[in-house]
């Protein structure tokens, strides 16, 4: 791997950011004069130096949410700090140690202000962070369809439950990092950044520091994990670019883990009340989620948009005629929240899946049968939800039945019953989830929802793929090459996938929202289709036949009977078949005169351009911008079987089963990898992880000693399988799988623990389900 910090340029200076140690304070003075002359220090910049030079950190939701308040969040604070970790000064020095020593010489006088820390208190009139707003309400939004009041009033039962989604830290293994270099002669700035969105970041940073977009080159080397935390435009990215221009020397900032915990976005952070109505026969009649969403102290790129995604997915995979979400976005003196693996959808799935278990417990029915009863049937797709979405495809019972079969559900319930008689606390948790992926149609996106690809066949028939997606560990260098190899019939090793360099790759959107394969992969597929059509014309010309009579299969163009060829030309090939297996409606054997040219022949001919049809452009390169017509909606069933230790409250996994349907699978190993990682992060939220600030807004979980990321020994063996319901939204039928695990697994695990504790009258517990919480329940009841 080759990460930002591995890029070494001569004479590179180090930048370190002095950050606020208070959650909320006025800065009455900053004195950097002594620090500026300290050994090794090249420059010290404060908010005043950049206030007129560098624009505010952008929020893409401006204008999209009525009444949204977006505080003017500057790259360095001038007189008002609003969270622990808020950057105050940038020290440029010859090395990191000199910069850190200089921090001691910067005199910052703070006047501490009361902090709004607790979400509910901040919403209810705690100290207002921004005086001119008067309160901490960032926005209020109501969404959903159907008459929720009437639906709940007409229900046989209405169950209400307060539910907390604790704040989480994304913890990418590689923290953020930026290297900036400026060539004054060319007026060209290059930024190496660990980001998920090189092109969008380039546009925004160019605007922030006021240089032409095409004079800024963003390079994204390998990225050691993002999980949404690098789907953003950060103050440090603009600052580094600006400093490089000031000094004319390369400057580098590599985030420390402490900074990562303090000043990289957090995820989740919702507290709300669920109301779910049902009839006595177990039909869900309505669902309402009144939620306070913790924005943190300011808006990053998508901060206020995340809870709106929760609203979209509140129907889960059920027919619910009336749904309403009432969001109150709340400012608190903490770092901003934003997209973290799942981004608003895990919150929705958790609410819905907890709701189903609460209803099942209330009615005394089996949780699986309750789910089955409320599923839309396969022939009801595309299925319209009361949240305004059209689910493209689905077969929820198939995934459920497969998972139940793997788990041997009946036998498990029997084992649970017997165990209880012996005093064992076994719990079985089921989650049948659906997620919204392949984000998305541009109409529904803040900055375009398409993705781009350029595919270039070189004269020697090596294939270069340039994708606007920005894989950061997902392995699309492999899966995109597989798509092209299958289409062109060339060897996988002859294909190079390039991404993450705005000087090489055409404009793209990036990798997030489980979109890279379904949208970016489709763009690659479509570009190759264009190339095949052009190559067919060249091949026909070379063979001296009509293009309509030329078929392409396994890398070879051959003349076939005109009728068969036209059928072939319009067929959408099945790209993912194992080598040697003929696709359905297999190509007819060549029945022409046996003439044949290979794609290699065509590649050379296209570049020599002596043997191509008159008027046809030489070369063999095609670009496609793919605009999806809808999102995709992967789904599945996760089953967790746990046992709670009566003495310690500790949780042990007995089984973990996951059946996911992400449509057509290109690379099963990569898909399994995504599911594994997602389940681990879900398990982290369910059992261990929690960002904690104290009453003054000090970050208590500031290190990996204090923030409990799951370790290998805490992770169960996962039994994975799939069903395959192709998406009709793209020609390959793929859906996306990057976030499935975090969305499906969290409620399965919590449902299992609650089920284990059902004999103690437990209906709900808030995450993380630490042994101490469980121990208290066990010991209160005894």
């Amino acid at each position: 791997g080759h990460y930002v910090d591995d890029v070494k340029l001569a004479d590179t200076l180090t930048v370190m950011f002095l950050r606020s140690m208070y959650a909320h304070a006025r800065i009455t003075s900053i004195d950097t004069s002594e620090a500026a002359h300290a050994p090794g220090v090249v420059a010290v910049y404060t908010g005043k130096d950049v206030a007129e030079k560098v624009g505010p950190v952008p929020c893409a939701s401006a204008g999209a949410i009525p009444g949204l308040r977006i505080p003017d969040y500057r790259v360095l604070a001038t007189d008002h700090v609003v969270f622990v970790g808020h950057p105050i000064a940038a020290v440029v020095a010859t090395d990191r140690y000199a910069a850190l020593d200089a921090f001691d010489l910067i005199m910052v006088d703070y006047e501490e202000l009361p902090a709004a820390v607790d979400l509910e208190e901040a919403a209810a009139g705690g100290p207002a962070i921004y005086e001119d707003y008067g309160d901490n309400i960032a926005y209020k939004l109501t969404a959903g369809e159907g008459d929720i009041e009437a639906a709940l009033a007409g229900s046989d039962k209405v169950i209400s439950q307060r539910i907390v989604h604790q704040r989480l830290a994304p913890i990418a293994m590689e923290p953020r990092g930026v290297l900036a270099r400026y060539f004054p002669g060319e007026q060209e700035l290059t930024l190496w950044s660990s980001t998920q969105i090189p092109h969008l970041m380039r546009t925004q940073v160019a605007l922030m520091i006021g240089i032409p977009e095409n004079k800024l080159r963003v390079i994204t080397p390998e990225v050691g994990g993002g999980f949404g935390s690098k789907l953003n435009v950060y103050a440090e990215e603009a600052m580094l670019g600006w400093i490089a221009i000031q000094l004319g020397k390369p400057v580098k900032w590599i985030e420390t883990r402490r900074e990562n915990m303090q000043a990289t976005i957090h995820g989740r952070g919702q507290v709300g009340t669920l109301d779910v109505g049902c009839t006595n026969d177990g039909t869900i009649t309505g669902l309402r989620w009144n939620v306070l969403a913790d924005m943190g102290a300011y808006m990053q790129l998508l901060t206020p948009a995340i809870p709106t995604l929760t609203g979209l997915m509140l129907s889960g995979c059920y027919k619910i005629p009336a749904i309403q979400i009432n969001i109150t976005g709340v400012f608190t003196n903490k770092v901003a929240t934003d997209a973290y693996r799942g981004a608003g959808r895990p919150e929705a799935t958790y609410v819905v899946e907890r709701a189903l278990d609460l209803v099942a417990a209330e009615l005394g029915v089996d949780t699986v049968e309750l789910r089955r009863k409320n599923f839309p049937k396969p022939d009801e797709f595309p299925f319209k939800t009361a949240t305004g979405l059209f689910y493209d495809s689905g077969n929820y019972e198939a995934a459920l039945d497969k998972a139940l079969g793997m788990a041997n559900y009946k036998a498990l319930r029997e084992e649970q019953r017997k165990g209880r008689e012996q005093g064992r606390l076994i719990g079985i948790g089921v989650s049948t989830y659906v997620e919204i992926c392949a984000l998305g149609p541009s109409q529904a996106m803040p900055a375009g929802g398409w993705e781009s690809a350029t595919v270039r066949i070189e004269p020697t028939c090596k294939v270069t793929v340039m994708t606007g997606a920005s894989p950061h560990g997902q392995g699309q260098e492999t899966s995109f090459a597989q798509i092209v190899a299958d289409q062109l019939g060339v060897d996988l090793n002859d294909i190079t996938v390039i991404h993450g360099d705005t000087a090489i790759v055409q404009y793209g959107i990036g990798t997030f929202g489980s979109r890279a394969t379904a949208v970016g992969g489709t763009a690659v597929y479509m570009a190759v289709e264009k190339l095949i059509e052009k190559a067919r014309q060249i091949a026909a010309h070379m063979m001296g036949v009509d293009a309509a009579s030329v078929a392409f299969n396994e890398g070879k163009f051959s003349k076939v009977a005109a009728r068969a060829a036209s059928a072939v030309a319009t067929e959408v090939p099945e790209p993912m078949l194992p080598a040697g297996q003929a696709p359905a409606g297999a190509l007819p054997e060549p029945e022409g005169d046996g003439k044949q040219v290979t794609i290699q022949d065509v590649a050379l001919a296209a570049h020599l351009a002596r043997e191509i049809p008159p008027g046809l452009e030489p070369g063999l390169s095609a670009t496609h911008f793919f605009e999806p017509t809808n999102f995709t909606f992967p789904f599945g069933t996760h089953i967790a079987v746990v046992e709670v230790n009566r003495d310690t409250g500790d949780i042990k996994f007995l089984r973990y089963i996951a059946v996911d349907d992400c449509g057509k699978v290109i690379n099963p190993m990569l898909v399994d990898g995504q599911v594994h990682g997602g389940i681990v992060q879900a398990l982290g939220q369910a059992l261990y992880e929690e960002v904690v600030y104290d009453e003054q807004g000090q970050l208590i979980t500031g290190t990996l000693m204090d923030y409990a990321v799951p370790k290998a020994a805490m992770i169960p063996w996962m039994e994975l399988d799939r069903t395959e319901t192709p998406s009709p939204v793209n020609p390959m039928g793929v859906k996306g799988v990057g976030e499935a695990g975090t969305i499906g697994a969290t409620p399965a695990i919590v449902n299992a623990v609650v089920d284990a504790l059902a004999p103690f009258g437990v209906r709900h517990m808030d995450m993380p389900l630490k042994p101490e919480k469980i121990w208290q329940i066990l010991n209160q009841q005894n």
Partner: protein, 174 residues
């Protein structure tokens, strides 16, 4: 963070009290104290080198003594900040004497912020207890001398030795 405890000293209460409110003595006895200047009645400005685990640095701040009732009681208000963070707190000390032994009861509340809070939270209690033990050991040595005598010398080795001998004494008394 609450800090509470008791400390026995083999010295007269008057001497202990004098030591506790004497800036010259305090500067010698507070671990890492580099400067303690009087800026008003019972009001001092100080520079302290201190740390928790790997989080170390220089703190500057103020110490104020209130409710000074010799030789039984006073209240101490502290605030300081430095690169590793800030601390502020207040606490009371009550002194009782019996059989030539002075018992100090202390109780306070300290708030910390910045890196110390984010990184050192786990270790603060332990570090505070250790600093207090060092402080009280040194104060005891001071209080065992008379006002006109040469003050004892401190330093980490002497303090450790004194703490160890005090520990042995307590051990054998049981």
């Amino acid at each position: 963070m609450k800090i509470e405890g008791t400390q026995e000293m083999h010295a007269r209460r008057e001497r202990v009290f004098q030591a506790l409110v004497d800036p010259a003595v305090l500067q010698r006895c507070i671990p890492g104290c580099e400067r303690l200047e009087q800026i008003g009645e019972h009001h001092y400005s100080t520079t302290l080198r201190a740390g928790v685990g790997s989080i170390k640095g220089v703190f500057t701040g103020n110490v104020r003594l209130e409710e000074v009732q010799p030789p039984t009681h006073f209240r101490m208000v502290v605030d300081g900040k430095g690169q590793p963070g800030f601390l502020k707190g207040a606490g009371t000390l009550d002194l009782e004497e019996s059989d030539g032994v002075t018992l100090i009861k202390y109780s306070g509340d300290v708030q910390v912020g910045g890196t110390i809070a984010g990184v050192g939270q786990r270790m603060i209690q332990g570090a505070a207890r250790m600093m207090l033990a060092q402080f009280f050991t040194a104060i005891e040595a001071e209080a065992q001398t008379e006002a006109h005598e040469e003050p004892p010398r401190h330093g980490s080795f002497r303090t450790a030795l004194r703490w160890f001998s005090g520990w042995l004494r307590r051990l054998f008394r049981r």
